[in-house]
């Protein structure tokens, strides 16, 4: 109540607004449900939204627990001390270290933000954190095993995926350390109001903050994915059978649009048998690195100037790297 401009009239406070909204929902939920019955597209979009969101929720929870633990026990300068001194070695370490976190991409974003730190963080640490963010969801054992299971006759697919994803992550780390600018990171980590508090306070404040940020943007991403899922005609795939370049581009775009979980995308890629392996590899490499929900989450956690530069760059690098690695591992269009 110190600043007059800050006080809002009681009847329109956010809490009142929220409760008014909830009462409205309780009253009209039946009407909304009935409205959906006549509109299969809308019902499908709502179901797909819930699918993406609910699927990501436990992984995000796992991610914020890790990021809370980092906030509690791992100070940014300790990370800096752990990392090798040379930037190149630091990026490589982070890339390979990504293999240790079995989770999918939603959890990796808040963790990477914590590792990135906020102080006068060196290029080395920022680049390593971003490399970790891209590598963790793509090359962890769970993802590689599910890829092997999804492509039973194609062991080269696993090696190609691992190589292409790791190269993408390392390349993006290197690009960041060369051209990245700290002032693109407009979102700061909160200095806890209870910074003098117990370990539990630090942990739960960090986890709470990271969850709210990342989950809000996950809503945005899941809604985009749901809308595109409904609007994208399924016949898209069928026109691509003979055209490799078009197939690669479309699968890259599709990976962005569908925003599938990295632990399941191999099965979806495996089912698109009308396409050669190469475009499907592109799908598997682009998806965990950048997609609609990740773009939204990066904007929320790192800041919009960061996301609008980093996400398109990742998209291009992942597509090119996957194509080159695919040509090498899979021997062209098969």
């Amino acid at each position: 109540m110190t600043v007059a401009g800050r006080t809002r009239p009681r009847f329109a406070g956010p809490m009142q607004l929220l409760f008014a909204g909830l009462i409205g929902l309780a009253l009209f939920a039946g009407t909304i449900r009935a409205f959906m019955v006549g509109r299969p597209d809308l019902a499908k979009a709502a179901t797909v939204f819930c699918g993406v969101f609910v699927q990501a929720l436990p992984f995000l929870a796992f991610g914020v627990v890790i990021s809370g633990l980092i906030a509690t026990y791992v100070s940014p300068d300790r990370v800096a001390r752990w990392l090798p001194r040379r930037t190149g070695a630091a990026i490589l370490t982070a890339g390979v270290g990504g293999a240790a976190l079995p989770g999918c991409e939603c959890g990796a974003v808040p963790v990477a933000r914590r590792l990135f730190g906020d102080g006068p963080s060196s290029d080395r640490q920022g680049a390593a954190a971003l490399t970790f963010m891209l590598a963790a969801p793509a090359i962890n054992p769970v993802v590689l095993v599910s890829t092997a299971v999804a492509f039973p006759g194609e062991p080269a697919m696993v090696g190609a995926r691992f190589t292409a994803s790791l190269l993408t992550a390392v390349a993006m780390g290197a690009i960041w350390s060369r051209w990245g600018r700290a002032d693109w990171i407009t979102r700061r980590l909160p200095r806890s109001p209870h910074s003098g508090g117990s370990k539990w306070t630090v942990f739960s404040e960090a986890a709470r903050h990271d969850f709210l940020q990342a989950a809000s943007y996950l809503v945005l991403g899941a809604a985009t994915a749901a809308a595109l899922n409904v609007l994208m005609p399924p016949s898209v795939y069928e026109h691509l059978a003979g055209q490799l370049l078009l197939g690669i581009l479309t699968m890259a775009v599709l990976a962005f649009v569908l925003a599938l979980c990295s632990e399941a995308d191999a099965f979806v890629a495996a089912s698109l048998t009308m396409l050669p392996l190469l475009p499907r590899l592109v799908f598997l490499v682009v998806g965990p690195a950048v997609d609609a929900k990740l773009f939204a989450m990066q904007a929320g956690v790192f800041g919009r100037p960061f996301a609008t530069r980093f996400a398109p760059a990742t998209f291009v690098v992942a597509t090119v790297v996957a194509t080159v690695v695919g040509l090498f591992f899979l021997g062209g269009a098969r």
């Binding site: 956010p14 809490m15 929902l25 449900r33 179901t47 739960s204 099965f267």
Partner: protein
């Protein structure tokens, strides 16, 4: 959004997650195996919300009324309006609860999923009179079984009816991870009892008994199998709407 309101939204999201787990509606969106993780997530969110709220009340020295105004002194780290977006999943999961994907939502049909499996001898069916098989497995066995285990066997399959130009198909949506990757798996229903199935409205859940017509050996690639149906029974929608 104020810190207090954020706590309420976080709490509600945790409760909605708990609700879809307890009522089982989460199977409309994800696989049943995610259940323990969703339950843990719900607990985590509720605990985070409650502990933040309790801490704030303590920090205010016990008089926590008039909270929306008073939290100005608990630093606005970055209070952004974006947290309002979380009201959308609260609304959908807690109040609207969108339906499971049906036949129309996954059309045009894709039956490619079974292509994952290579040609191989499948284990024999149970020796019962008409063993129950998941619909996608029937499609896989018809197309990929080098031991022809379905040949001449009476089987039971569950799914919903799909009507197309006077004929009836049996469908089941297959999900791999979540509802975003749902694909339709289907069988053509023919034979004496198919006419009964045709009298039910679209998307009626039924259990059918019949024999699958073998795939012509000269046919390459995948085909949608045809089943000669001898009995059709309407049933309640199953607890798990999808096949996995």
């Amino acid at each position: 959004m104020s810190r207090n309101t954020e706590n309420v939204v976080l709490f509600l999201l945790g409760m909605c997650t708990a609700a879809i787990v307890v009522t089982g509606t989460f199977t409309r969106y994800v696989k049943p195996t995610l259940m323990p993780w969703l339950a843990m997530t719900a607990v985590l969110l509720v605990v985070l919300a409650l502990s933040a709220a309790i801490r704030d009340v303590r920090a205010r020295g016990g008089h926590g009324d008039d909270a929306d105004h008073r939290d100005a002194d608990i630093e606005h780290a970055h209070r952004s309006g974006v947290v309002w977006l979380l009201v959308l999943p609260v609304a959908l999961l807690g109040f609207v609860v969108p339906p499971a994907l049906g036949a129309r939502a996954t059309e045009p049909a894709v039956t490619d999923l079974p292509r994952l499996v290579m040609l191989r001898p499948f284990p024999p069916l149970p020796a019962d009179r008409a063993p129950e098989l998941p619909l996608p497995e029937v499609v896989v066995r018809v197309n990929r079984d080098s031991a022809y285990t379905l040949q001449g066997r009476l089987i039971t399959v569950t799914g919903f009816t799909i009507k197309e130009g006077g004929e009836v198909d049996l469908g089941r949506v297959v999900i791999i991870c979540c509802a975003a990757d749902g694909q339709l798996s289907r069988l053509h229903l023919r034979g004496p009892a198919a006419a009964t199935a045709a009298t039910y409205p679209e998307e009626t859940w039924v259990r059918v008994e019949g024999i699958v017509v073998p795939k012509p050996s000269d046919m390459a690639g995948l085909s949608t199998p045809t089943m000669t149906v001898s009995a059709v029974t309407p049933i309640e929608a199953p607890q798990n709407p999808y096949a996995y």
